[in-house]
C-alpha cells in the first residue's frame, strides 16, 4: 500500500499547500523535541544556571529551583536514552 503523504506527493512533483504546512510543523516539533531531549543542551543549561548564580545575576533560591528542574529533566532524558528511545 502507498503512503499518501506529502513526501510521496513531493516526489511526484505535486505540491499541496496544506500538506506542506503539516510537514513544516512536524519539522518544528522534531527540532523542539531534539532540543528538549538533548543531554548536552541540558548540561549547558546547568552550567549557565551555575554561572549566572556565581555572577550574582540570579538569587540562590532561583538557582536551586532551576537546578532541580534541570537535574530532573536530565535524569529523565538519561533514562529514556538508556531505554534506547529515539526522538528523530
Amino acid at each position: 500500500m502507498f503512503l499518501f503523504d506529502d513526501i510521496l506527493m513531493s516526489m511526484m512533483g505535486v505540491s499541496v499547500p496544506g500538506l506542506n504546512l503539516f510537514s513544516t510543523l512536524e519539522l518544528v516539533k522534531d527540532l523542539a523535541y531534539k532540543e528538549l531531549y538533548d543531554p548536552e543542551i541540558i548540561r549547558n543549561e546547568i552550567k549557565e544556571n551555575r554561572m549566572l548564580y556565581e555572577f550574582g545575576d540570579i538569587s540562590e533560591e532561583a538557582y536551586n529551583t532551576r537546578k532541580t528542574e534541570l537535574m530532573n529533566q536530565l535524569e529523565q532524558v538519561q533514562k529514556l536514552l538508556n531505554a534506547n528511545v529515539s526522538f528523530l
Binding site: R43, N44, I46, K47, E48, M51, L52, E54, F55, D57, M71, L74
Partner: protein
Amino acid sequence: MKNKTQPPENGIYVYCVIRTPGETKNFGNIGFGGKEVYTIDYKEFSSVASVAPLKKYDMENEKEIETHQNVVKMVMMEHSVIPVAYGMVFKSRKLVLASMKVAQKAMKKTLNVVEGKVELGIKILNQQGQASQLDTGSCVEEFEKELGKLSSDSKKLTLFSKRLLMNTAYLVEKDRVDAFSDAVEALETKYKPLNIQYSGPWPAYNFVDIKILSKQQEGGR
C-alpha cells in the same frame, strides 16, 4: 539477588598524579566520606587516592565535585599535579598500579607540560537587557592579546551560554601568576560594564589528557 538498598562496594578513587615525594604521603582525611587521602607509588609517579565507593560519579553532583577539587587544591599547594578526570575509581590497588604502568610514558610527557604551571580561567559575560556602548569584539580581542603574552598556552572553551563572550583557559607559569592577575585587574577596570570572572589556580585540566589512567589514555596534549 543483590539488595537494591545495599551500598556499593569500595574501590580506590584517584584524584591526581604527582611526582613521587620519596615516601608514601598522607594528605589527611579529606577524601570522599572523610576517608584518608594517600599516595600509591609506581616508579617516579604517585597516584593521590582514597578508598571510595565503586560507583558512577555524576558530573552534576556538586558536593562530590567539590570534594575532588578540594583534594587536588590541597595537593597543588606542595606539588605539580597531573589532573585525573573526576570519577576515576578503580576496583583495586593492583588495577591502579597496572594503569600507572601502562600510562607511565604519557605521564612523563604530561608532567613536562604542567610542571611549575597552573591553569587560570577567564569568563566574560554580557550584561542582560542593557544596550552596551562597548565594542565587545575588540574587548575580547584585547583580553586575548594581553593575557596571551603572559601565558604559555591558552585554550578557547565552549561558549555554553548566549551571554558568554569569552570562556578561555590559560596555562601560566607559577611565577607569572601575579603579573597575569594584575593584567586581568587592569582590563577589568577598563571594561567595567562587563561581568568578568577570573578563576584559579586550577590543575591544568584543559591542557592534558585527564583520562590518562583510563583505557582511553592518549598522553599529554
